[in-house]
């Protein structure tokens, strides 16, 4: 087994799925010759040819809408949207069609489509290159939403997404694309969509998070240990549909919850998680749930980026508050 990072895991999953299933095609801006601006599709053009690895014109609604048509007619397109901020022009096709065609046709037509995009901040990118749009998708019926945080999960979840009979929005936290490597087996495995993962067991509180915030929360949990606080950390991985059971189990065990998200606070996924806990596990709560989140402001240019992103200090303050309560 080789040790690889997240972007390499994306690449491996794409390569293996393309080899396994002829109906898988990859398309998007700069995914071919250039191998993708993050090199996620590197080498695929050489291996699978121009017919299956397609450099498209610059048109996100087009890329997704056309992929929907392909998917309805038997292909399994994996569309890359170059950056999170350029998913927005494709929202209409995703909301109005990808998520509805199965329902609209009473099961006659289906849309086995994956839309991949790098997401979130932390790399000093230009405006619109640091968005965390997961809540828009999680509020959209008929589409699944995934955001991995490790190379192993990335490969298994992406393979599952490609094989899924329904549309999946697959968001890849670009800040940790190359942050660390781990052993990822070659060959076939999938991680079922819809299952969260306890990445650190603990008894004192539950830190619930996803994407690039996962390693941060693990660090905070380690730090908290030094203070005698035994935090559990949950990586949601699939953001829609949510793994309510795992959230419930953890919070009912610990009685305390901190939710950490990078997206703007209001109406983010963290709100849904908090609402669910309040509904399902109110009596177990020993303290109000804390949300640590991006602000309800546009994501700033990079000089101020570090203040926008939830960091160890802000998460720890929330942990302390929840524990002190």
């Amino acid at each position: 087994m080789t040790k690889i990072n997240i972007v390499q895991a994306v690449n491996m999953a794409l390569r293996e799925e393309m080899a396994r299933d002829k109906s898988v095609v990859v398309l998007g801006e700069d995914v071919g010759r250039n191998g993708g601006v993050f090199r996620a599709t590197e080498g695929l053009l050489q291996e699978f040819g121009e017919e299956r690895v397609i450099d498209t014109p610059l048109a996100e609604s087009g890329i997704v809408g056309i992929s929907i048509g392909m998917a309805v007619c038997g292909m399994r397109p994996v569309a890359e949207i170059q950056f999170d901020g350029f998913l927005y022009p494709a929202l209409d096709q995703i909301i109005s069609h990808a998520g509805r065609i199965r329902t609209r046709s009473r099961g006659r037509y289906r849309v086995p489509l994956v839309v991949r995009a790098p997401c979130s901040g932390g790399i000093h990118a230009p405006e619109h290159h640091s968005e965390s749009p997961e809540a828009y998708f999680a509020h959209t019926p008929g589409v699944k939403v995934v955001m991995p945080s490790t190379p192993y999960d990335t490969k298994g979840l992406l393979a599952a997404a490609i094989r899924d009979p329904d549309p999946v929005i697959f968001l890849e936290p670009k800040k940790i694309y190359r942050a660390f490597k781990e052993e990822v087996p070659e060959g076939d495995y999938t991680i079922p969509l819809g299952e969260a993962k306890v990445v650190r067991e603990g008894s004192a509180l539950s830190i619930i998070t996803w994407g690039a915030m996962v390693p941060l929360c693990k660090t905070v949990a380690e730090e908290a240990k030094g203070k005698g606080i035994d935090a559990e950390v949950i990586d949601l991985r699939t953001l829609s549909p949510l793994d309510t059971k795992s959230i419930k189990a953890s919070v009912e065990k610990t009685g305390r919850a901190v939710i950490v998200q990078e997206a703007p606070r209001s109406c983010g996924l963290g709100a849904e998680v908090a609402a669910l806990i309040g509904e399902k596990s109110l009596l177990y709560l020993k303290a109000p749930i804390e949300r640590v989140a991006g602000f309800d402001t546009p994501f700033p240019l990079y000089r101020l980026e570090k203040y926008y992103l939830p960091d160890a200090a802000r998460v720890m303050r929330a942990v302390d508050r929840v524990m002190r309560y």
Binding site: V25, E51, R52, I54, T56, P57, A59, S61, G62, V64, G65, I66, S67, I68, G69, M70, A71, V72, C73, G74, M75, P77, P89, D92, Q93, S96, H97, I101, R102, T103, R104, S105, R106, G107, R108, Y109, R110, P141, G142, K144, P165, D166, G194, P241, L242, T244, K245
Partner: protein
């Protein structure tokens, strides 16, 4: 400022059958007498269906309905040129094309009666669902046709849309992709000159819609959209070209929406009766009838029989539609994903309990 001219373009126009039913035999497509009669019978059937649907809406037996009236030649001539294995991507107005493509009329009515089962196409029938958001289906057709091309199947996708749709970004993006990748798709634009209350002159400064194809590097033609032969011929040519690997074609059918935009609309608020009357004399069915009469393909008896049969078929379709049992509440949930996730199970459970509590 004097400049060098580096490119020249032309926009062609095709009419085979004029308003008087006179035919330019040199342009006439290859159609047998039986086929011409079939075209006529479809047009009568669609008009009969259409009139009935409007009435059903007025009586509250179906919901909002978008009439075909006036556009029969555009819809029927084009759909008639397609092969069964080709795929059709309609907007919301292609009731006529659906019928030609074999979709049971009861299903079409069921759709307008607020029931998704009206879009649950019978297996083997390659017609996509109704697209309400204007222009969005253009992309689906391009993607579908691309899939055929990838698999080297000899199929073509044909997408219907209106003049209004040409203003949408999705139309543009789809046309552009089709040009770049030489996709086997036919863009069938019914320029019925109105997008609800917005006239074509307010929709674009281009004098023809056909010239829009120039922007994408492929062929665009304008045809008389009330001339079923011209529509048939242009579509057939475009389909054959696409099937042979010649790439996309844009066809502008110049026609007119004789009815209201939908049954929820009142066109007299925004357009003159004179304009409507000026188009009445161009009626596509009457024109074909005159032609057929001249050729001995039409007689009063035949006309009456066709009308009668159409009424009978429509009557049966209405009956069938109305005999359909109500959809089940579970259907709201069942088709969201292939497998129902936990949250939907819970929502359905709560709804079931609320319903058994007997308050609905």
């Amino acid at each position: 400022m004097p400049k060098e001219i580096i490119r020249k373009f032309e926009v062609p126009y095709l009419q085979v059958l004029d308003e008087e039913g006179r035919c330019d035999e040199g342009l006439m497509p290859d159609l047998t007498g039986e086929e011409i009669k079939e075209l006529y019978e479809f047009m009568v059937l669609v008009r009969t269906f259409d009139e009935k649907a409007v009435k059903l809406q007025r009586m509250g037996r179906i919901g909002t309905y978008a009439p075909v009236l006036g556009q029969e030649a555009s819809q029927i001539g084009s759909a008639y040129a397609m092969e069964d294995e080709d795929w059709m991507f309609p907007s919301y107005r292609e009731n006529g094309s659906y019928i030609v493509r074999g979709v049971p009329m009861a299903m079409v009515l069921r759709y307008w009666a607020g029931d998704e089962r009206g879009c649950q196409m019978p297996e083997g029938m390659n017609n996509f669902t109704v697209a309400i958001p204007v222009g969005t289906q253009v992309l689906h057709a391009v993607g579908a046709a691309w899939a055929f091309k990838m698999r080297k199947e000899k199929r073509v996708a044909m997408v219907y849309f209106g003049d209004g749709a040409t203003s949408k970004g999705d139309f543009h993006e789809g046309m552009n992709f089709a040009g770049v990748f030489q996709i086997p798709v036919v863009f069938l634009c019914q320029n019925n000159q109105w997008a609800i209350s917005v006239p074509i002159t307010r929709q674009t400064a281009a004098e023809t819609l056909a010239q829009k194809a120039i922007a994408y590097g492929f062929e665009g033609v304008r045809v008389d959209g009330n001339d079923v032969f011209a529509v048939y011929k242009s579509t057939l040519d475009a389909l054959e070209k696409a099937r042979a690997g010649g790439g996309p074609t844009f066809i502008e059918c110049l026609t007119y929406r004789m009815g209201d935009h939908t049954t929820a609309d009142d066109a007299s608020r925004y357009r003159s009766q004179e304009e409507v009357e000026a188009w009445r004399v161009k009626d596509p069915i009457e024109r074909l009838r005159k032609y057929m009469e001249g050729k001995g393909l039409w007689s009063k008896d035949y006309g009456a029989k066709v009308q009668e049969e159409a009424e009978e078929r429509v009557r049966k379709a209405v009956e069938e539609m109305e005999a359909t049992p109500e959809p089940e509440v579970e259907d709201i949930f069942r088709y969201t994903f292939e497998e129902m996730p936990q949250n939907l199970e819970e929502e359905l459970q709560e709804l079931r309990e609320a319903l058994t509590e007997g308050r609905k």
